[in-house]
Amino acid sequence: MTVPVFLAALAFAWPLLGAVVVMSAPTVRSREVAVWMAAIGCVLALAVFLFPATGAVAAGWDDDPVQRAGRVMLAFGLLLTVLESRDMADRFLRGLPHVSTALAGLACVTPDPVVGLGILEASLAYGVFVFGRPAGQARAGWALVRTGSVGMFLVLGGLLLPGASPSAGLMMACGIVMLAGLTPFGQPWREENDTFLFLPFAGAALLLSMRLRPHGGEAFDTALVAAGLASVWLTACAGRSDDGLRLFRTFPSALALIAVGARADVAALLFLCGWCLAGGSRSGRSWAARALACFPPGAPFVGCLLLLSVMSDWSWVFTVLTVAGILCAVVRAVPAGGFGQDIWPRDTAGRVACSVLVVTGFLVPLAMMLGAF
C-alpha cells in the first residue's frame, strides 16, 4: 500500500473515527475534541488533494481534482459547524455532523453514482433518526425522509432510462434539485441544526450531479440551468422580506447548479465553497451575507466571474438572464442599512470562514492557470 492510498483511506475513515471519539468523550470536553478531529480531517483532505492516488491504484474510484477539492470544502464545512456549536448533552447530535460529512465524502467518491445515492439515503436516515428522537419531532422527520426519498427515486428512475434521452435528463435534474434542497423545490429544512445534516448532504448532491452529467445528456444540463435560474429569479423577486432571506440561504447552491449545467466545474467548486462555509443558517450574519451576495473578495465572487466567462460561450440568452438575476437578487437581498461595518468578524468561526473563503478565491484560479483542474 502506497502512502497516497493510505492517506485517501484515512481521510475517508477519519470523520467516522471523529464521530466515535466525540460521542464517547464527556460533554464538557466534547467540543474541544470535535474541533481537533475536524481540523485534522481538514489537513487530511488537503493532503489527499495535493498527493492523489492516481493511475492503477485508484482504479474505479473517482479521481477528479474538482471532486477532491470539493471534499476539502466539505471538511472545512465540518470544522466550521463544530466551531460554531456549543457543548451538547445529546451524544447522537454531537456525532451527527461528523457522520454526515463522512458519508457525504464517501458518496462522492464511489465508483458508481448509484452507490453514492444509497450512501446519501443512509446519511439522511441517520440524520432523521437523530433529529426525530425528541418528542414532537416525528412529523418533521417524516417530511425530511419523504422529500429526500422522492429526490433519490427521481434520480434512480432517470438512471434506469436510456442514457442521454430527454426524459432521463429531466428526471435526474428534478431529483438533484430536490436533493440539493434548492428553494422552492427542495426540503423543508428547519432553522436549527440544519447545518449538521443539510450542508454536507446538499454539497454531496452538488458533487454527484457533476458525475451524473454523462448519463443525463443535454436535457440534464438545460434543466439544471433552468432550475437554478428559477431559484435565482425567485430570490430576486422575493426581496427583503423574511421569505426573501429564506430563499437567499440557498443562493450559492442555485448558482452552483447553473455552473454544473454550464459545465463550469471550477465555478461550481467555488460556489460549493461559499455554500459549505456561508450557506444554510449562517446566511443571517453580515460576513456570510456579504460572501453569499458575491461581494469581493471571496470564492463566490470569483465563481461568478468564471461562470459568466464560461456561460457566454455556451448561450448568450442564459448569460444575460443569469447576470440580471444575480444583480437583482444581490441588490434586493442586501439589508436596507447595508451589511454593517464589521467586515472582519469577531468570533473564531467567522474568522476561519472568511480566511478560507478569501484564500480559496485566490488559490483556485491560480491552480486552474497552473493546470491543476
Binding site: V114, E121, A125, W142, F153, L156, L160
Partner: protein
C-alpha cells in the same frame, strides 16, 4: 413483457386511488413479474425484498388505528398519475426503448401518491410503491447496484415510517380495552347510570353525577309533571348545603 408487468402499473394506480390496501397485491404481482424473467439469485432476492416491503408495513399497520379525515386531495390524482405514465410511455417509445417501462410507471404512480396525498399512511404507501417500481426496473435491466440501493432505501423507509406510525398513531389494543370497560359499565343497573343530565361514562367526573342522582330518586316523577319542572333547581341548591 408479461401480463404481470402490465398489471403492476394498474395496481400502482389503485394504490394512488385507494391507499395502502392494494400494496400487498402490488407486491405479489411485482414479485411474479420479476420471477417470470428467470429464477436467478438477483430475481429471487429482489422478489423476497419486494414481498417483505409490501406485506410487512400492512401487517404492522393492522395493529394501529387508521387516521381518517386528513385527506383533502381530490379524486383527480390517479388520473394525473395515469397522464404521467402515458407521457413516459411516449417518451420511451420516442427514444427507442425496446421494452414496456413497467417499473418506471410504478415509480411515477408512487411519486404522485407521495406528492399529492396528505395522509402519512398514503405517502408511506407511495414510497413503498416507488421501491417496488425501482426494484422491478432494476431486475428487468439487470442492474445489481440499483436493486441493492432500492433494498437499502426500502429498509430505511420501512423502519422510519414504522417508527413514525408507532409514535403518532394510537394502537388498536387500547381501543379494545376501553371497549371492554364500556361493556362492564353497561352490565351495571340502569338506574345508577343515565338519568336526566347525567354526564356520559367517558367524562372525567362520573362519580359526582352518579352520587347526585342517587340522592334524587323523587326527581323522575317530578319530570313527568309539566308545571313542576323548575322545582328541583332549588332542591339541587339545597342539597350541597
Amino acid at each position: 413483457m408479461t401480463l404481470a408487468a402490465i398489471l403492476a402499473p394498474l395496481l400502482a394506480l389503485c394504490v394512488v386511488a385507494r391507499g395502502m390496501g392494494f400494496l400487498p397485491v402490488l407486491g405479489g404481482v411485482t414479485a411474479v413479474a420479476m420471477l417470470v424473467d428467470g429464477v436467478a439469485s438477483l430475481q429471487e432476492t429482489a422478489a423476497a425484498f419486494v414481498l417483505l416491503f409490501s406485506i410487512g408495513p400492512v401487517w404492522f399497520l393492522s395493529y394501529y388505528q387508521q387516521d381518517r379525515g386528513q385527506e383533502r386531495s381530490g379524486p383527480t390524482v390517479p388520473f394525473f398519475a395515469l397522464g404521467l405514465m402515458v407521457v413516459l410511455l411516449l417518451a420511451s417509445a420516442r427514444s427507442g426503448a425496446p421494452q414496456f417501462p413497467a417499473g418506471l410507471c410504478v415509480v411515477l404512480a408512487g411519486l404522485v401518491a407521495v406528492t399529492y396525498r396528505q395522509a402519512m399512511i398514503w405517502q408511506w404507501a407511495g414510497l413503498l410503491t416507488c421501491i417496488n417500481g425501482v426494484m422491478l426496473a432494476g431486475v428487468i435491466e439487470k442492474q445489481v447496484m440499483v436493486v441493492g440501493v432500492a433494498a437499502l432505501a426500502g429498509c430505511v423507509i420501512s423502519v422510519l415510517g414504522g417508527l413514525y406510525v408507532h409514535r403518532v398513531m394510537p394502537r388498536v389494543a387500547v381501543v379494545r380495552a376501553s371497549g371492554r370497560k364500556d361493556a362492564d359499565r353497561k352490565s351495571k343497573p340502569a338506574e345508577t347510570r343515565f338519568r336526566g343530565e347525567a354526564p356520559l361514562p367517558s367524562d372525567p367526573v362520573p362519580a359526582f353525577g352518579t352520587t347526585r342522582l342517587a340522592k334524587e330518586p323523587p326527581r323522575a316523577p317530578a319530570d313527568e309533571e309539566g308545571n313542576e319542572t323548575d322545582k328541583p333547581a332549588p332542591k339541587a341548591e339545597d342539597d350541597p348545603a
